[in-house]
Symmetry: C3
Subunit: 354 residues, 3 copies
Amino acid sequence: MTVQPAYLQKAWYVAAMSTEVDAQALFHRKILGTSVMIYRTADGTPVALHDRCPHRFAPLHLGKRVGDEVACPYHALRFNAGGQCTHNPHGNGHIPQAARVASFPLQERYGFIWIWMDASEPDLSLLPDYTPLEQGHANAVGYTYMAMASNYELIIDNVMDLSHIDHVHGEIITTRGKLSPIVPAIRETATNISARWEWSQQPAMLIFANFLERPEDPAEHYFDITWSAPANIQLSVGAVQDGKGFDAATAQYDLHTCTPADEFSTHYFFATRRNHVVEDADYNEMKIKAMHAAFETEDGPLIQAVQDEMGTSDFFSLNPVLMSNDIAAVKVRKLLRKMIAAEQAAGALQSAAE
Amino acid sequence: MTVQPAYLQKAWYVAAMSTEVDAQALFHRKILGTSVMIYRTADGTPVALHDRCPHRFAPLHLGKRVGDEVACPYHALRFNAGGQCTHNPHGNGHIPQAARVASFPLQERYGFIWIWMDASEPDLSLLPDYTPLEQGHANAVGYTYMAMASNYELIIDNVMDLSHIDHVHGEIITTRGKLSPIVPAIRETATNISARWEWSQQPAMLIFANFLERPEDPAEHYFDITWSAPANIQLSVGAVQDGKGFDAATAQYDLHTCTPADEFSTHYFFATRRNHVVEDADYNEMKIKAMHAAFETEDGPLIQAVQDEMGTSDFFSLNPVLMSNDIAAVKVRKLLRKMIAAEQAAGALQSAAE
Amino acid sequence: MTVQPAYLQKAWYVAAMSTEVDAQALFHRKILGTSVMIYRTADGTPVALHDRCPHRFAPLHLGKRVGDEVACPYHALRFNAGGQCTHNPHGNGHIPQAARVASFPLQERYGFIWIWMDASEPDLSLLPDYTPLEQGHANAVGYTYMAMASNYELIIDNVMDLSHIDHVHGEIITTRGKLSPIVPAIRETATNISARWEWSQQPAMLIFANFLERPEDPAEHYFDITWSAPANIQLSVGAVQDGKGFDAATAQYDLHTCTPADEFSTHYFFATRRNHVVEDADYNEMKIKAMHAAFETEDGPLIQAVQDEMGTSDFFSLNPVLMSNDIAAVKVRKLLRKMIAAEQAAGALQSAAE
C-alpha cells in the first residue's frame, strides 16, 4: 500500500464537474488516496460514499442502483445514500452493526461537486465564493478536466507564477515580454494569497484584441489571482483601452482547482466565464477546447517532465533556486504547509486528550 | 527482489494441465515465487527443474533439449532429468560439485501435473483423491486455465462462498434467489472444510433443466464443496426431480485449484466432469468455453477489482464485516493460516535442533 | 527516488556516439542516474550540462537554443555552455549566485563523446587509447547503440566470456566447438584484464572465410580482449592461413563499452573496424546491421532473461557456480569492485580530513 502524504483534511476539494455525474451514473474517483463513489438520488442531490464494500471490499460503483440505494456487485449488500446497509440477502438477513460505509458531505456549487473528506462536521465557511461562475449567460462559461501524473502542488506553482506564460504558451496569450519583468503585488490574508500584475502591451492579448475597439492599439492589462486553501486559484484577466479603468475591461473570470488522487496523480479542474460575446455558443466551445489543449500540450507535458526529474513531491528538499517570480507560489507552499501542520498538531492534541 | 509471503510448503500444487506439457515442450511457470521448468522425458514422464542455470542464472527453458536432458541457452551446460549437470563443454570439461539444479517431485493425476515444492520427501497422502475426473467418457470432462492478477486466497474465498452466484453470474446458473438465504451445513476434518447447500427451484438451473424430464418443473438441487489444503476446492452440483434422491441427479463434479505464482499472481485451474450427454463432444467444448468465459468476464474482473481496492494480501487486517455466508471461506482462511504457522514452527524447531 | 548503486566515478564513460549529437540537437541521456544534456556549440565542440534547471527542475533539453546558450523551457532562464546562468527575464533580472547547473567534462574521441561525471578534475590518462578506430577508410568502421534493460556488469560478463558464442550465436561466427575447450591466456595490469584464445578451425569463421585465399581450408584464429575501467572491452578477432602470423590476419578491431543509466538500465555502445574490403560501403552497412541484430536478437534477450531471473545486480550474492570459462569475467568483476571500494575509501578519508 502506498503511504499517503499529508493533505489538508478540513477542506473542500472538487470531486467532479456537475456534468460528470448524470442521473444514472455510479461515478467513481480516487480522492486523497480514497476510492469515492458519487451518484445522484432521484431528486438530483449528489451523494458520495466510500467506494468499498465493508464486507469483501468490492468497489460499489461496479454494483447496481436500486432506487436511491446501491447494491454491491459481489454479494448484493445494499447501501442507502447515507452509507448504511439496508439489505442483506444472505442467511437470516441480519445486518451487522458495522455494515456501513463512510459517506462524505458534498456541496454542489459553481458547476462543481465539492467534497469534504474529513470525518469532522463540514465547515461551509471554508468553501470559497466563486459565484461569478454561476452568473450570466450559459454560453459564456466552460468547464474542463484533466488527469495529471504529478503532485498537485506543481500545478498550483504553475498557476501562481504566471511569468511562465510567455515562455510556455503560444502567440494567443503572449504578453510580448511585458509580464516577466513585473514583480507582482502580493496581498495576504490568514487563508488566501493573491498576486496582481498590471501592464500595457500592443497589440492586446490576442484572446481579447478582437473584442476591443482598436485591436491593433495598445491596451492596459491585468492578471489577478487568489489562492485559497486547499488548492483553488481564482484567476481574472482582462484588457481595456482609453484609460477606461479595469471595471470596463474585456475580461474573463477563471477557476483552477486541483484535487490530489494520490501523491503523484492529480485531478485538475478548470472553469472560465467571460464578459464578451456571451451568447456565442460556438465561440464558447472553441474557447474551452483551446484552453484544454493548452493544458494538455503545453503546461501538462512540462509539469510532467518536472515531476519525473524531481522524483519526489518534496520541492524544498531539492534546494530550488528561487527568484522574484516565485514569490506568490512559495507563499502558497509555505502557508499550505503551515495549515497542514496546524491541523495535524490539533489532531494530535485531540488524540492525547481523548 | 519481492519478499514472498508464507505459503504452505509441504503440499501438492497444480503446476500445469497435462495437456500444457507436450512431448517437445520446455514448459515454464512461476510457482510460489520460484521459476520452474517442466518437460517430459522420452517415456512421457514429466519432470520439473528449477528454471535457472546455477552458472549464470539463464532460464533453462530457453535452452535446447538433448534427449532427456536440457542444455542451458547461454553456455550449454547440460542437465539431466534429476537436475544433475552431465556435460560442461568448457575447458577440461570438469563438472563442479555444485553444478546441479533443484528438481521438484511431480505426480500426474486427474489431468493435472502436481508439484511438491518443498525440499522434504513428498508425501503422497497429502494429494487429495479426485479420481472421478479420470473416470468416464473423454467427452464428458473439460479443463481450463486462467492467469489471475490477485492473491490466491481471494479466489478460494470466491468459490467457498457460493452465495455470490446469483449476484455475479448470469441466468445460466441462477438459483433464483434460493441459495443466499441458506446457511450452508459445514463439515470439518483436520485438513478439510466442506459446505453443503440444498434447495428447490423452478425451473431448475438452466445448465441442468434441459436434461431433466420436465424442464419447466421444480427440481431439488445441491451444492457440495470441499476445500483441501493448500488450495483445492472440489465442487459438486446437481439437480433431480420426483424425490429420486441426489444419487440420481443430473450433476457435475468440478475441481477448482489455485497455485500462487507470487503474492499477487495466481494460476487458476479448473476441471469439470458431467454425468449427462457424456459422449457429446460439441456440448463438452461449449460447456468448458462457457465456464472459462464466466471466470474471465464475471468472477475475474470482480476479484481483480477487490484486490486493487484492498492493496494487500492480508484480508483480516482490513477488518472485513463478516456474515453467515462467509462461514466456510473464513474457516478455510483460518485453517490454512494454522497449517502454515504449524509448518513454520516445526521448521524453526528443526533448525534449532540442528 | 531510486537508490543508485556505487559506480566508479573517476572514469570516462561513453555518453553518446558522435553522430547522435548533431549541430542543432539538445541531446539528452541518463548517465549514472543523472540526467545529462549534450549539445554542440557553434564551433562543433560538445558540451554536457546537468539536464535540470536549478529553479524548478525542468529538463533543459526541452528548452531552446540561443546561440551557444540554452533557455529553460519553463521560465526561460538561460545558461551558457559552462552551466552558468547568463539571463533571467524576470523581475529586475538579478541572477542568483546559485543559478548554475553542473557541467561535465567531455572528450570526443574514436567516434564517441566521453563524459567525466565526477566533480574532480578529469584525468585524461584514464581514457584508454582506441586510436585504431579512427585510422583508415571511413567505409571500414561502423557504430551502433542499444538500450539494455539490465545491469551493465551482465553485459561486460557476456563479452569477457566468449565461450558463449557457439551456443548463443548463429553459423556466421561459430568456432565449430573449438573455442569452448580453451582456457584463455590471461594478462593483468593494475587497471586492465586481458584474455586471449587461439585455435584452428575449418572452414574459417564465416565472417572471414570469403576474404581468405582458400575459404574452405583450415585457418588459424585468435580472439584478444582487454577490459579497461570502467566498462570498456576492446576485442580483436582475426583469421589467417599458411602460418603467416596473426599480423597478416583478416581481422577486425572492436570496442564494446557500457554506460549505466541506472542499476537496471544500460547504454550499450559498439564500434567495429575491419582491415578488409575497407572501401565497400554496402558491406560496411550490412556488417554493422548484422552485428546490431545479433545483439538485439541473441545476446540481448538472453541477458535480459538472466537479469529478470536474478532480480538483483549483486551477482555473487546468488552463489554462482563458476567455471574455467568465467576466469576473465570474474577477474573484471573483482577488479572493478576493488577500484570502486578504493575510490569510496579515498572519498571517506578526504571527507574526514575536511
